[in-house]
């Protein structure tokens, strides 16, 4: 998913002796395979991950690790394992998350099964490096998102990021990782941009997989950047793994006039974020999800209400395997025009 294959590969290759196969980037072929063997009305992340699994198996993988939970994604591993068995693939699929929680003892057992010589100390050591690596990556990504739309030399952010990920793959110690992070942070800040004082700022919220895998949202962030828009997005792996349990309580408290309970996955988080974006003065909100994503469908009417109360425009996109790119383009363009017109007339409206 996105660039997170790098830390995942880093962690596994250091703690087990098995050969780790890097997943290929998602392409049209991945999704074609995934769709062929998936139930028709399951949400798109199922199709993407199944496609990736089959591509991995064809490359020689015989152990697959899946981590997911929160919504019906929690049952996907079992279902996918059954589909793979029916297709005649003899593989073992481990799900690290059960019933929405991670049980350390269970994970230890799984790791022992995968590699009997698995050492818990090594696991903790490299686990902590990986955690830091993900946090550093997400920090850098935040900076990139706010600035990439204004880079003078096109592609300079992306190029530097690839170089950074390549260096991250080879670290062995915390010190080395921290030094690399500091070095790249400086270099990212050195990239020349022509950011004006008043830019159009958009917040992206929605279902986590579609947000984090650029292929599945038709490179939404890249398209927005090409329109010179500053982007803020909350969902990343650091958030899901390390911040969510704290943040969600805060979100529920802040949005008590709209919701009382959590609604599964990130639905309640997104309502909290929408309110935050409105208050912080963002010009617009884009909500994206894969088709048939139940928690987000539940959040949509509430989001409409929040945005109506604060008079901030919101637009909803549902991505499926057959979504027409031209249709997305037209709606995004219109959304941008609308925000631009509103911005120009901000003073006039506030006077009335």
């Amino acid at each position: 998913m996105g660039d997170y294959a790098v830390p995942a590969h880093f962690l596994l290759s250091h703690i087990v002796r098995n050969k780790i196969i890097k997943p290929k980037p998602i392409t049209t072929k991945t999704i074609e395979i995934g769709t062929k063997y998936s139930p028709e009305f399951v949400c798109t992340p199922f199709k993407y991950t199944l496609g990736t699994m089959i591509e991995g198996i064809e490359e020689g993988a015989n152990i697959l690790i899946q981590a997911g939970g929160g919504c019906r994604y929690g049952y996907y591993a079992e279902l996918q394992e059954q589909i793979l068995k029916d297709l005649g693939y003899n593989v073992k699929l481990y799900n690290l998350v059960t019933a929405g929680t991670t049980d350390i003892k269970r994970i230890y057992k799984i790791m022992k099964e995968i590699d009997p010589k698995f050492s818990i100390l090594k696991g903790i050591y490299y686990g902590s490096i990986t955690k830091k690596m993900i946090q550093y990556m997400d920090h850098i990504d935040h900076y990139i998102r706010a600035n990439i739309g204004f880079e003078i030399e096109k592609g300079s952010f992306q190029k530097l990021k690839w170089q950074m990920l390549k260096d991250f793959e080879n670290v062995k110690t915390h010190t080395k990782l921290r030094r690399l992070y500091k070095k790249y942070k400086k270099e990212f800040q050195k990239i020349k941009t022509n950011k004006p004082n008043k830019t159009i700022k958009i917040g992206i919220i929605g279902e986590l997989y579609t947000i984090m895998e650029p292929y599945s949202n038709y490179e939404l962030e890249r398209t927005l950047a090409s329109m010179n828009i500053e982007i803020k997005r909350y969902t990343d792996v650091s958030y899901l793994l390390f911040q969510k349990h704290k943040k969600i309580k805060q979100y529920l408290k802040n949005t008590s006039e709209y919701i009382t309970y959590q609604m599964g996955a990130d639905a309640a988080d997104n309502i909290g974020r929408a309110k935050e974006l409105c208050i912080e003065g963002y010009d617009g909100i884009i909500h994206i999800k894969s088709s048939f994503c139940t928690p987000e469908i539940g959040a949509m009417p509430v989001l409409t209400k929040v945005c109506a109360d604060y008079q901030v425009p919101i637009i909803f996109f549902s991505f499926d395997i057959n979504t027409s790119e031209v249709g997305i383009q037209t709606r995004l363009e219109a959304f941008y025009d609308m925000l631009e017109m509103r911005k120009k007339n901000e003073k006039r409206i506030s006077r009335n």
């Binding site: 392409t27 049209t28 072929k29 991945t30 009417p301 409409t304 008079q311 425009p313 549902s318 031209v326 249709g327 037209t330 709606r331 363009e333 219109a334 025009d337 609308m338 017109m341 509103r342 007339n345 006039r348 409206i349 009335n352």
Partner: protein, 311 residues
């Protein structure tokens, strides 16, 4: 010689063109069927407009509609913009205080909410063509009625039938059923017009606050039956401009005017050959559909590559 600004709106079903003068008033307009070939349609459209306007020099061109990008390249347009913005700008030119624009076209339908001439919210139908012009035109063929007579026939009905409005496939089978049990043609047609309105309000207009004044436009606004049911269901009068089908073209012509181009445009593209060739790239497993555009047999641009390395 008068100065003129040309706006072209190339939709899925029809192609519209207008020429505006310095004060954004319509000098000439034209409305023809696209017939699945936007390039030929635009050539015919321009020929028609040129025959009508001998003493006008064009100083700006804008394109909108689903073929805007291709035609924009072909006519060397100053502005290429989506139809939502174009419709809003065109409408506010004539109805300064309009609050809601209802638009039903051939393949898509949209709702635009405005305040003080600024778009505040909009929605567009997704995936499905239920309740759009193409559904009405395919049903008119099935019933053996000219689409132009559809509205007048609908007005004659005293007892419109109820038709399942959610989905065109269900609507069509429901329609066949109603015909087979012997309903009058005008009752069925009236029911169809009503179902278009209900479908529109339930899908595109869902959750949107429709405030007056309401302007109804797009090709379907020419259908008196649909207008009648909008009035009935919204319990108010919707405004239908005599040029309601041209609003997109007018809007884009206004935007072309705003560009204030100093050089006159050459409209000799009628004799130039213009074609696109599609192929599937075999470079990786993405299999992108690469479109190459040739003007006068010379390659000018390509679209569709995901990696940007292939043209």
């Amino acid at each position: 010689m008068k100065k003129g600004y040309l706006g072209i709106d190339i939709g899925s079903i029809s192609t519209k063109g207008v020429i505006l003068d310095e004060n954004n008033q319509i000098l000439e307009s034209s409305y023809i069927w696209t017939e699945g070939n936007p390039i030929e349609a635009v050539k015919r459209l321009l020929k028609e407009l040129q025959n009508k306007t001998k003493d006008i020099t064009i100083y700006g061109i804008g394109t909108t509609g689903s073929a805007r990008k291709l035609i924009g390249l072909m006519v060397d347009a100053d502005v290429v913009k989506n139809e939502i913005t174009a419709h809003a700008i065109g409408t506010t030119q004539f109805y300064k205080n309009a609050r809601t624009i209802l638009e039903i076209g051939g393949q898509d339908s949209k709702i635009i909410l405005l305040k003080d001439g600024i778009i505040t919210d909009y929605a567009m139908n997704t995936l499905c063509a239920a309740g759009t012009g193409s559904f009405l035109s395919s049903q008119s063929k099935r019933l053996g009625v000219e689409i132009e007579d559809f509205g007048t026939l609908a007005l004659k009905s005293k007892n419109p039938v109820k038709i399942a409005a959610r989905c065109t496939v269900f609507a069509e089978s429901d329609l066949i059923h109603k015909a087979q049990v012997g309903y009058q043609k005008e009752d069925i047609i009236a029911g169809l017009c009503r179902s278009v309105v209900l479908n529109y309000l339930n899908n595109v207009g869902k959750g949107k606050k429709i405030e007056e004044p309401i302007v109804f436009q797009g090709g379907v606004s020419k259908n008196k039956g649909v207008v009648k049911y909008f009035n009935e269901i919204l319990k108010t009068e919707v405004i239908v401009d005599p040029n309601s089908h041209l609003m997109g073209a007018i809007g884009i012509a206004i935007m072309a005017h705003q560009k204030q181009s100093k050089t006159p445009k050459n409209l000799k593209i009628l004799d130039i050959s213009f074609e696109t060739k599609g192929r599937e790239c075999e470079g990786c497993s993405n299999h992108c559909e690469i479109l190459r555009i040739y003007k006068d047999h010379k390659f000018i641009e390509s679209w569709g590559s995901k990696c940007g390395k292939v043209s």
